[in-house]
């Protein structure tokens, strides 16, 4: 095993660790569940729920930057009470993500943030298309350089320690 293999083994392990941590971060922090999953799983802590704002259910108030509406997804619906910043993205018949806590007792989702539907597919595609080819290109070049040094050393053309080019 050469230094080349050790180095690229390390790079591969680091890459796998980044992918693993990225997937874990996505599952824990970014993944949005449907109202049906929310009812079935009743998770605790801060949750992201993705669904459609049902028409005729959106009512502002009682305070400023507050609203009540029903969110539907996967054939199930939940009541949402929003209280947070200016809900500019909030519209009826719009699919969005609400971020907050689920109260299983009152069956009410207390949202403090509203976000647009995330397009993680495009983000993942861009990172894969941007970083994986760079890694492969570099690997191919380094592999070729290692091969050429070995070939030249075998043919006694070039001594790496003494050449100035």
């Amino acid at each position: 095993m050469t230094w080349f293999h050790v180095r690229w083994g390390g790079v591969l392990l680091a890459g796998l660790a980044i992918v693993f941590l990225g997937m874990r971060h996505y599952q824990r922090e970014l993944r949005a569940i449907s109202p049906l999953q929310l009812r079935e799983e009743a998770p605790s802590g801060t949750i992201r729920v993705r669904g459609l704002v049902l028409p005729g259910t959106l009512f502002p108030g009682p305070g400023p930057n507050e609203a009540r509406f029903e969110l539907e997804g996967d054939g199930s619906k939940i009541s949402v009470h929003y209280k947070g910043g200016d809900p500019e993205n909030l519209r009826e018949l719009k699919t969005l993500v609400v971020i907050g806590r689920w109260d299983p007792g009152s069956k009410l989702f207390e949202a403090r943030e509203i976000g647009v539907v995330p397009n993680f597919g495009f983000v993942t595609a861009a990172y894969l298309a941007g970083i994986v080819p760079v890694g492969l290109f570099l690997f191919w070049m380094e592999h070729r350089v290692a091969f050429l040094y070995r070939e030249i050393r075998d043919q006694k053309v070039y001594e790496p320690g003494g050449d100035e080019g």
């Binding site: 495009f122 760079v134 290109f137 570099l138 070049m141 380094e142 050429l148 030249i152 100035e164 080019g165």
Partner: protein, 232 residues
């Protein structure tokens, strides 16, 4: 020069790795989503450094071409060829990632926009450069003609850079300029980390590819193909 490249290239590789890993962490975990674009804005942390590195590679090609016409040194010519190959690669990848970003934000994979077209022209110039080198029989003449092409093609760099200011375009204006950062600090920090990391990566790749081209010449010389051209 090859010996010095071998001695220092590792530092560039390590610096690139550290900056890129930090940039990825700050970009994917530490920075907020954009108010309008949402999570898609995170494509910026890979697309902008790729595009920047493509222009850095062309800048290196431009400088090395001037240096080659002055000195006529084989290793400088190898550096030109290396920068062109790396530049073409980064330009193509930047166009692909830009296209992936354009779809969710502009609702199209491609637009005949000044920035996009001038960047695609950069790719055509680099492909032309590499084709000229490949299909010209005499190596010294190929190097000379290619150096002239690279210098003339350098006019595309300021066009790319200022296209968003000179013409009305879909593409967003400059995020980093002499006037400073025009984006929020939590987004600017990972962007700077990634740009610095990709710059180190470019110099590392340039050192590796220059060695690759030089050693290929050397091996060919050993086999008697270019005996008169390489200083053994």
């Amino acid at each position: 020069m090859i010996k010095q490249m071998r001695r220092y290239e590792g530092w560039f590789g390590v610096a690139a790795g550290l900056c890129i890993v930090s940039g990825l962490y700050f970009g994917l975990v530490g920075s907020p989503a954009d108010y309008y674009q949402g999570e898609v804005v995170r494509i910026m942390y890979v697309h902008v450094p790729l595009a920047y590195t493509a222009m850095l590679a062309y800048g290196a090609l431009f400088s090395c071409s001037l240096w080659y016409l002055w000195k006529r040194d084989l290793i400088v010519d190898n550096m030109c060829q290396a920068a062109a190959g790396i530049g073409a690669f980064f330009t193509a990848v930047a166009l692909i990632t830009g296209s992936i970003w354009a779809k969710p934000t502009w609702n199209t994979w491609w637009a005949w926009d000044a920035r996009l077209v001038s960047f695609a022209i950069l790719l055509l110039i680099l492909i032309g450069y590499l084709m000229l080198r490949t299909f010209t029989e005499e190596k010294e003449r190929a190097a000379r003609y290619a150096a002239v092409l690279a210098i003339v093609g350098g006019i595309d760099l300021p066009i790319i850079k200022f296209s968003v200011e000179w013409w009305r375009t879909l593409h967003q204006p400059l995020s980093i300029s002499t006037r400073g950062l025009s984006i929020a600090k939590p987004m600017g920090i990972p962007l700077v980390f990634m740009i610095v990391g990709f710059s180190f990566l470019f110099f590392y790749m340039l050192a590796v590819r220059t060695q690759m081209l030089y050693l290929t010449h050397l091996l060919e010389a050993k086999k008697g193909r270019l005996l008169g051209e390489v200083h053994l």
